[in-house]
Symmetry: C2
């Protein structure tokens, strides 16, 4: 594991196949590493250049004067065995093999060869057939994807390259903050399990997300055992592609890995405490909730809304996603009643009515936060003329910050452009906000599932320790 | 029905309770009607004003010199009986009663009274307790919601006010084009069925969407019978809120209407040929597909992608949403093969690989469009450095326009900001595009369901007639 750690915290990175030609992968990766602000030593390797992008270039990896922790390899597949051997001689810890042309096109022999060489020297391989990796706490973006990876606490491991790069852009646009991003491609050596273990130890990662197509055959038992240990420390959310018959065929022709029956994976995930997402949107919806909010302490949830319809949608979603809505005591009902106009509804959902302004929301939130009956809060807002969503977002964020609220909270704001701005503001303030009530409640549902899972496997104090480790008070 | 038609094509509108004070509902509605460009006569009614927003104001509706087709009523509930009576005397066809304070707060008696008066005079009532309505082909925005309703072919009927207004903003932001928008509130008179029938006759509406909380008790049979006739002419997509036990309770406390068991509604919808959406996002995803694309002629679907992972996700989604993926003939496989690099996959999904540029896509599209084996097309794109999504969007739109392509097509582009721009461009070009493969395929799945439904009820030529009526060649 200590070797793998060099992937996250390398003192130096070499780019073998670094290029001076914009548009080339060997150029983009080097430029991304530089521009994203990597602080360690950086060595372009290219026998036909003495300098690339302001950095001195070396003819080979063995010609580099200092130590090299990570070598990013961007050269044609046939030349990789020689380079991996040189990496071994140089004492490189991890070779990040971008190059394609291995098992994904039937060239299994070549893939086995580089792994064999690497093992001889104790070099670990990420890839081949990947777009690289990023680790934001150390300002590393060693990918040929977009530059401006948003920083945060979600780690994303992807078995698909094209989709992974595309999703990278998606996370940037939606300000979904990542700790790390790992393209694993053919998983010739380092696999999703080992990476998950590495990230379980990483203090910047609060939730691990995975786009998975398939595992190596015969590794099911090991997968369950080792991932079970990971999920007792951190939530893992997986979208498993190739779940249908036809999808499995598509996986086989895509990566050549065995997709395996969906039921098999479903059972394995359940046993390993892995949360399953069904769509890409859901994957990141759930991840945002875990990254920003503490694991719920209890199950009793209150919905606060300014629109009855939104409240009804949330109520439906609550039942469908196993989110128990609190039956408030008469005393609590009376308190909620004081936060709204006479025609509001103080039961759960707490309907502040379309007349609600910031003050009504904050008063109702105060009641919810102070009540020992309430564990979790769902805040809903439908765009009204009398309450600007940006004002409400600011007030909510301030209230949570000032009162150091630790009750698990998810939010849905529904409406147009100003609502969209408000949602982004809330997300930046570490309160996960979504454009529909269904998404907010579904994310909370997965958090509650994880809480129950931990409770079924750990002692009460241990659960609390996990909770605190992820979100220190 | 001829009376109801005045709602869509009024020669004149009166706003009873029009106000000079910005922020007041009676001001916003009048201003929206003016600024959205209504071409007919407009009469503010306010006993304390001679002119409002540049329009001559009248002390009462009976004082208006010309005929009044639609009266928008924005006055306190207790005064509505008198105004409805005046509407009757004046010969107003439809009273749009914005005012709240009726059955939704237990004041059933007052609601029954205005209905009784209206019936005596032959006035129809929309509402009460609504935010108004819009009908874009006639430039009518008689709501107190946002002004800039996007024009298009989706009609949206909503039983919830706050949620409806919020969704209005949402449609504007996402450029979801509406033909009409109808807040139905307490449904004291005109109900969702009658409105659907009206919209079935409306040439600007291609799909009817409904947010429904519940129907009046004892109207189930009638609902099924009448909606069955509507769905044989136009697709109807409904999101039914209050589907769970707890959700039903929430509905009861929100609108007082009976939510009814979910199974009951499920059965009724199925019998009536109504498409059911499970989330707000899905409601408009499906509606966009119907509004922009013709009903599929056959079921055989081809997926064209530049990323294997996206292809796998689409393949899974196809099976889950009953979208049959074509098993291409050897001949067709050979043709697809010519559109891609040697390491691409010419089977279905057709994987053009991450190397794909515009030319590969257009060639593959040409093959798909020309092949009699292919009925429907799913186009996927993952952001790559070598292919700008905006270029691809433009090329695809041009190809469809120039070749007058009538094969049902849905698109998913995955990535960041430029991808978002490309998606909007495609939507404006009448090809429904989504941010994930799952959403695109799910929308196509509902179109195929509707096609099959029509085929189970109508003769072949009749189905073709429906198809052509919605999307003239």
């Amino acid at each position: 594991m200590s070797v793998l750690k060099a992937l996250l915290e390398p003192r130096s990175i070499a780019v073998v196949g670094a290029s001076r030609s914009p548009g080339k992968i060997g150029y983009t990766i080097l430029r991304n590493i530089i521009e994203y602000g990597f602080k360690g030593e950086l060595y372009p390797v290219n026998p036909n250049a003495t300098e690339i992008l302001g950095y001195r270039a070396y003819p080979s990896i063995t010609a580099i004067p200092g130590e090299v922790d990570v070598a990013v390899v961007v050269i044609p597949a046939p030349e990789t065995p020689k380079v991996i051997e040189e990496c071994g001689k140089k004492g490189v810890k991890i070779a990040v093999v971008i190059s394609s042309g291995f098992s994904e096109v039937g060239n299994t022999e070549l893939e086995e060869r580089i792994v064999k060489i690497a093992r001889e020297y104790g070099v670990r391989i990420l890839g081949p057939n990947i777009f690289g990796y990023a680790y934001t706490p150390r300002n590393i973006n060693a990918t040929f994807g977009p530059l401006e990876v948003a920083k945060g606490n979600i780690a994303f491991i992807t078995q698909s390259g094209a989709l992974g790069i595309a999703l990278m852009g998606w996370t940037i646009m939606n300000e979904i903050g990542l700790s790390g991003l790992f393209s694993i491609g053919n998983m010739a050596d380092i696999d999703v399990v080992e990476l998950s273990e590495l990230l379980a130890d990483d203090p910047s990662t609060r939730v691990i997300t995975v786009y998975l197509e398939g595992l190596k055959p015969g590794r099911g038992r090991e997968f369950i055992e080792r991932m079970s240990r990971v999920t007792l420390r951190k939530p893992v959310v997986v979208i498993k592609a190739g779940v249908t018959k036809r999808g499995m065929k598509a996986v086989a022709s895509h990566t050549g890995s065995l997709a395996g029956s969906d039921a098999l994976y479903e059972a394995a995930f359940k046993q390993a405490g892995i949360i399953r997402a069904r769509t890409i949107t859901e994957l990141f919806n759930i991840a945002r909730a875990f990254a920003q909010q503490p694991i719920p302490r209890g199950v009793n949830t209150v919905v606060i809304t300014n629109g009855g319809g939104a409240g009804v949608l949330a109520t439906d979603a609550a039942e469908l996603n196993n989110v128990p809505l609190l039956e408030p005591s008469q005393q609590l009902v009376e308190k909620f009643k004081e936060t709204m106009p006479w025609f509001g509804s103080p039961k759960n959902p707490v309907d502040l009515t379309g007349q609600a302004v910031v003050d009504n929301y904050i008063k109702a939130l105060k009641v919810a936060v102070e009540s020992p009956e309430v564990d979790n809060i769902v805040i809903l807002y439908c765009r009204t003329a009398i309450l600007d969503p940006r004002d409400l977002a600011k007030a909510i964020a301030e209230f949570y910050r000032e009162n150091n609220v630790s009750k698990t909270t998810v939010i849905a704001f529904i409406g147009g452009v100003e609502v969209y701005e408000a949602i982004r503001y809330l997300n930046r303030s570490s309160i996960p906000a979504y454009p529909t009530p269904e998404e907010a409640v579904a994310a909370l549902g997965k958090m509650l599932w994880y809480k129950k899972y931990l409770e079924s496997r750990l002692k009460k104090q241990e659960v609390e320790a996990v909770r605190l480790a992820l979100h220190p008070a």
